[in-house]
C-alpha cells in the first residue's frame, strides 16, 4: 500500500465480500452483549419478537442507505453529507454522525473492558484494559482500511462459529414456557422494544464508509444484505435462546445475560465447562474489530468536518485515543453506562430512521430537480 493511500485512508483494494465481514463485524461487536437485557426489560417474554422486528427495520434502513451509497459511488458518508448539505449546513449535519461514531466505540470498549475485568483480569485496572484495546485499534487504523479489513476477515468467521456453538450448547437448557404467553397484552411493549433494540443493528451504517473502497461493486448489494440477514438471525437467536433459558424475570436480574448464558452451559464434555472463557477470548477481537470500524468512520467524519489534509490523519487517530479514553471514563459504573447506552440507542434511532432517510430523500429530490433543469 502506498503511503499516500494509507494517509488518505482511501484505497480501492477491498472486495465486495468485505462488505459482509465489515458490516457484520460492526453489527455484532457493539451493543449486543447487553441486548437480551434491553429486550427483556422493555418487551418481557416477547423481547425476541422486538429484536426480530428491529432487525427487519434495520434492513429497510439499510436499503435506503444503500441507495445513498449508489448515488455517490466514490464518496463516503461525511463527503456525501457535505455534498448534499453544502459548505456550512453540511458541517452542521456531520455533528450528530461524529458524536455517534465516537460514543459507540467509547461505550463498547468501556462495557466490554468491565466484563473482561470481572471474568479474566480481576486485578488489572480497567483503564489498562481499555488503553491496550484502544492502542491496538489506533495502530490498526494507522495502517489503513485494507489492514483493518484483513483483521476483520480473520476475526469475523471465528466469532460466528463460537457464537453458534455457544447458542447451540446453551439451547439444551431452553424451556418454551419462558417465552409464553406470546404477545399477550404486550403489543405496545413489543413495538417499544423494537425501537429500543434497533440500536444493536446500527453497525450496518458502516457500509457508507467502506463502500467507496470496494472496487468491484457488482455484488456489493448481495454481500451487504447477506451481512444484515445473517447478523439479524444470529442476534434474534441470541435473544431468543437467552429468554428461553432464563425467562424475562431472571434476565432482568443479570448484568451480563449473554455471559451468564454461556456460563450456564451444562454439557457432558468437561471441555465446555469454561465455555465463557472461549467466548470472551473471541469477543475481545470482535469488540476490537467493531470499535475499529466505528473509529475509522469517526476519523473520516472529523477529517471531512475540518477539511484536514491527509498529513493530519495520524494526528486525528491519536486524538481519538484520548477522546475514546475520556468517553470510556465518563461512562461511569455499569448502571450509569447502561443509562448512557440507552441514550445512544435513541441517537441511533434518530440517525438511522430519521436523519439518513431524510438526507437520502432530499438528495433524490435535489437530483430530480437538477435533471429537469
Amino acid at each position: 500500500m502506498c503511503r499516500e493511500e494509507r494517509n488518505t485512508m482511501k484505497n480501492k483494494k477491498l472486495s465486495p465480500s468485505h462488505a459482509f465481514t465489515l458490516t457484520g463485524a460492526a453489527i455484532l461487536g457493539t451493543r449486543v452483549l447487553e441486548l437480551p437485557y434491553t429486550a427483556a426489560v422493555v418487551a418481557g417474554n416477547d423481547g425476541w419478537i422486538s429484536t426480530l422486528l428491529a432487525g427487519i427495520l434495520s434492513i429497510i434502513s439499510g436499503l435506503i442507505l444503500f441507495k445513498l451509497v449508489t448515488l455517490y459511488p466514490d464518496k463516503d458518508l461525511p463527503q456525501i453529507v457535505q455534498e448534499i448539505g453544502g459548505k456550512y449546513l453540511g458541517k452542521v449535519l456531520l455533528i450528530p454522525l461524529i458524536v455517534y461514531t465516537l460514543l459507540v466505540p467509547g461505550f463498547t470498549i468501556r462495557e466490554f473492558s468491565g466484563e473482561v475485568k470481572i471474568l479474566l483480569l480481576d486485578k488489572t485496572p480497567i483503564s489498562v484494559i481499555m488503553f491496550i484495546l484502544l492502542l491496538v485499534i489506533v495502530l490498526t487504523l494507522k495502517k489503513g482500511i485494507t489492514v483493518l479489513a484483513s483483521c476483520v476477515d480473520i476475526v469475523f468467521p471465528i466469532l460466528i462459529v463460537v457464537l453458534i456453538l455457544s447458542l447451540a450448547l446453551s439451547s439444551t437448557q431452553a424451556e418454551l414456557v419462558n417465552i409464553k404467553p406470546i404477545l399477550f397484552e404486550n403489543t405496545g411493549n413489543v413495538l417499544k422494544g423494537t425501537l429500543s433494540t434497533y440500536g444493536a443493528y446500527t453497525g450496518y451504517g458502516m457500509i457508507t464508509y467502506v463502500a467507496c473502497h470496494i472496487s468491484d461493486r457488482k455484488n456489493l448489494f448481495k454481500w451487504f444484505i447477506a451481512a444484515q440477514i445473517v447478523t439479524g438471525i444470529l442476534i434474534t437467536s441470541m435473544v431468543l435462546i437467552t429468554l428461553l433459558v432464563f425467562g424475562p424475570t431472571e434476565i432482568k436480574t443479570l448484568v451480563y445475560p449473554l455471559l451468564s448464558l454461556v456460563k450456564a452451559v451444562e454439557f457432558p464434555a468437561t471441555l465446555f465447562e469454561r465455555l465463557e472463557i472461549l467466548m470472551v477470548f473471541t469477543w475481545i477481537p470482535s469488540v476490537f474489530s467493531a470499535s475499529s470500524i466505528f473509529c475509522f468512520a469517526s476519523v473520516r467524519n472529523i477529517l471531512v468536518l475540518f477539511n484536514l489534509e491527509s498529513k493530519y490523519v495520524n494526528t486525528v487517530i491519536y486524538i481519538h485515543l484520548l477522546l475514546l479514553m475520556a468517553i470510556a471514563y465518563f461512562s461511569g459504573n455499569v448502571l450509569q453506562s447502561e443509562e448512557y447506552s440507552w441514550r445512544i440507542d435513541e441517537m441511533a434511532l434518530f440517525i438511522g430512521l430519521v436523519f439518513l432517510p431524510l438526507l437520502t430523500i432530499a438528495d433524490i429530490i435535489k437530483k430530480k430537480k437538477e435533471a429537469k433543469v
Binding site: D122, K123, T124, K180, F184, A264
Partner: protein, 407 residues
C-alpha cells in the same frame, strides 16, 4: 525517542496486565463444596474434646454486624494426596488413609466476608470456579434461602449449574464423608444427580440457577435432601420450598410422582403388586415419560387435566412364574396395573401437597401464567389460597415395549 517510547509502552503493558492476574495452578485453593449451617456447628471428631475449643477460636472472627448467624465450611482438595497422585507415585496405593481434603469452617453473617477470612487461614487463594455443590442445613433453609444464596449468584466466580442440597442436621457432616471410590465428597455428591436417569427418586434439576429463578419468580419448588454416613451419601427425599423457605420434607416416592406430573421424569423404576396373586410383584423399567397438563378454567378454581404417557420395559417379576407364558393379554393387564399404581401415587402426592404443605411444587402456576394469562392476571394474588382447592384429573397410560430376553 520512538524506541524509548516503544520500550516504555511494552514495559507498561507487560507490568500492568495479564501476568499480574496470573495465579499458578498449585497456588489456587480449589473450593469443591460448601456447607452452610446455622452457627455454631461442632467440628468433625472434636465433639466434647479440648481441641474443639481451639477449632472454635479459629472459626470466629471479629464482626461488625453482631453475633454470627451462619457458618460456612469449604472443602479444598489436598491435591498431593489425591488417589490419582498416590497411584502415580511410588506406593501404587490409591486408598491412603490420609485426609484428602481440608474442610475449613468460618462463622459470620456475610458469606463474602467469611470467604475472605478463609484466605487468612490457608496459604492458597480460594477459587470457586470449580465449585460442585452447596449443602444447606434444614435449619438455615427454614429461615429462607434468598439471603444465603445472594453471594453465590452475584460473585463472578460462581456458576449457575452448581448443585444445591438440603440436609437434615449438620450440613458440614456431608462434606466430612470419605467416599470409597471418589476422592472428595463434593464430587461424589454432584455425580449422584447424574443418576436421575436411572432412579426417579433423584432430583434431576437441583442447580443454583434454577433455584434462584424459582425464588425470583415466587414459585414453590423442591430440593433434594441428602444424608451422610462415614463413607456414604444418599439422596433421601425432598425438601419442599415455599418461596425461598423450606416448609417441610417428604420421601423419594413422592418425588417420583412430582416428576411424573411435572414432565421431569427422566427414567426409573416402577413396581406394582399383581392383583389376584399373593405377594406377586412386577417391575417396569421406565424409559420415557411424557406429561401434558391442560388447565380448564371455569370460575375461580381451575381444573388440571394431567395426561401421563409412560413407556418402558417389563423387566422383572417376583412370586409369579411367567416364563414362557407372557402374551399380549398379560402385557395389557400389566400395563393397566402399572398405570393404576402410578395414578394412585400421583393422586396421593397432589393431595399431600395441597393439604399438608400447601405448596405448588408441580408449578401449576407456570401453566396458568403461560396458558391462561387472562385467568392468571385476575387471580395471581390469590393463588396461594386457590392452590389447595385446585381440582385435578390424572390419566395414566403405560405402554410396555420390551420384555427383556425371557418370554
Amino acid at each position: 525517542v520512538k524506541k524509548l517510547l516503544f520500550i516504555i509502552l511494552c514495559a507498561f503493558i507487560a507490568l500492568s496486565c495479564g501476568c499480574s492476574d496470573r495465579v499458578d495452578i498449585e497456588n489456587r485453593g480449589y473450593i469443591l463444596g460448601i456447607a452452610i449451617d446455622a452457627y455454631p456447628p461442632i467440628p468433625k471428631g472434636l465433639e466434647g474434646k479440648k481441641e474443639e475449643n481451639e477449632e472454635k477460636k479459629m472459626e470466629l472472627m471479629p464482626l461488625d454486624t453482631g453475633k454470627p448467624m451462619y457458618t460456612m465450611t469449604v472443602q479444598m482438595p489436598i491435591v498431593a494426596k489425591s488417589s490419582l497422585r498416590v497411584k502415580a507415585g511410588t506406593s501404587g496405593k490409591g486408598g491412603s488413609d490420609e485426609e484428602r481434603s481440608w474442610e475449613i469452617t468460618l462463622a459470620g453473617n456475610s458469606f463474602f466476608e467469611m470467604n475472605r477470612e478463609i484466605a487468612a487461614r490457608t496459604n492458597f487463594r480460594p477459587f470457586y470456579e470449580h465449585l460442585q455443590v452447596i449443602i444447606i442445613s434444614d435449619e438455615v433453609a427454614r429461615k429462607g434461602l434468598a439471603n444465603v444464596l445472594d453471594f453465590f449468584i452475584r460473585d463472578p466466580e460462581m456458576r449457575r449449574r452448581t448443585k444445591v442440597y438440603i440436609t437434615k442436621g449438620e450440613a458440614k457432616k456431608v462434606l466430612d464423608v470419605r467416599p470409597r471410590i471418589e476422592d472428595y465428597s463434593s464430587i461424589y455428591l454432584a455425580k449422584i444427580t447424574d443418576n436421575a436417569v436411572k432412579s426417579a427418586r433423584i432430583i434431576y434439576k437441583t442447580d443454583l440457577g434454577e433455584l434462584v429463578k424459582s425464588i425470583h419468580l415466587g414459585l414453590d419448588s423442591t430440593l433434594p435432601i441428602v444424608e451422610g454416613t462415614k463413607d456414604e451419601i444418599k439422596e433421601a427425599g425432598i425438601a419442599i420450598l415455599k418461596d425461598d423457605k423450606m416448609v417441610g420434607s417428604t420421601t423419594g416416592d413422592h418425588l417420583e410422582s412430582i416428576k411424573y406430573i411435572s414432565n421431569l421424569h427422566k427414567g426409573g423404576v416402577e413396581t406394582a403388586k399383581i392383583p389376584g396373586r399373593e405377594n406377586a410383584i412386577a417391575t417396569l423399567e421406565v424409559k420415557n415419560v411424557k406429561t401434558k397438563t391442560t388447565p380448564k378454567i371455569s370460575g375461580r378454581i381451575p381444573t388440571f387435566k394431567i395426561d401421563i404417557k409412560v413407556r418402558g420395559d417389563y423387566i422383572e417379576n417376583i412370586n409369579i412364574d411367567t416364563h414362557g407364558k407372557i402374551d399380549e393379554e398379560y402385557l395389557r393387564t400389566m400395563e393397566k396395573v402399572f398405570a393404576d399404581s402410578i395414578k394412585k401415587k400421583c393422586m396421593e402426592t397432589i393431595k399431600l401437597m395441597q393439604e399438608k404443605f400447601k405448596a405448588d411444587v408441580f408449578q401449576f402456576e407456570m401453566i396458568l401464567r403461560t396458558e391462561e394469562p387472562s385467568y392468571w392476571k385476575k387471580y395471581k394474588n390469590e393463588w396461594d389460597d386457590i392452590f389447595p382447592e385446585v381440582k385435578t384429573e390424572v390419566n395414566v397410560s403405560v405402554e410396555i415395549q420390551q420384555i427383556g430376553t425371557s418370554r
